[in-house]
Amino acid sequence: MDFNFLSLDRWLHIVAGVTWIGLLYYFNFVQAPALAAATADKGGPGGAGITKYVAPRALLWFRMSAAVTWLTGALYLAKNGHLHGAFTLGLMAESGQLYLATIGVGAWLGTIMLFNVWVLIWPNQKKVLGLTPATDEQKAKARRTAFLASRTNTLLSIPMLMCMGSAFHGLPF
């Protein structure tokens, strides 16, 4: 019985990826609309419990699973000897161009999404949640930037997942 490192790495990549994108969809489809509804509900309990107890935990799993997803994905490509070929979209490859172009576009989309998580969403969410000091004006600006980066990632996740699934299994048309 041979130990298949690549299979284990790909498995971890998928588990971490589901955690990451699952939480991304939770933020976009559940938490943000829930906080808006809580703010609009003047007689209700408000969203303080969500921002204090839920959001920090969700953001911890979110950014860590994003990092693990990217690292296990990059390791998978590197171990297969495809890291350079994927990120150059197979343009310099002698063979396997369709695989490299497909996984390469997916890898670039995932890399942009990782950048958005760690550079745009997390630092701005720290201001919004009061984990780093910020004025009300800075918080409003941070909330807008984090919102747009999160929505951008939701948009990009759709073609990214298409590429990830299609690299081995074929494009939809």
Binding site: A101, V105, T154, P159, M162, L171
Partner: protein, 31 residues
């Protein structure tokens, strides 16, 4: 209007981008 302002706009734009990228990938790969 910015499609990112609504959830349906975001998802629709995602599917449109995915379809565009199929053509881009095929063109790059010469397939």
């Amino acid at each position: 209007m910015n499609p990112l302002e609504s959830i349906t706009g975001t998802i629709s734009a995602g599917f449109v981008l995915a379809i565009v990228l199929v053509f881009v990938i095929k063109a790059i790969a010469g397939a």
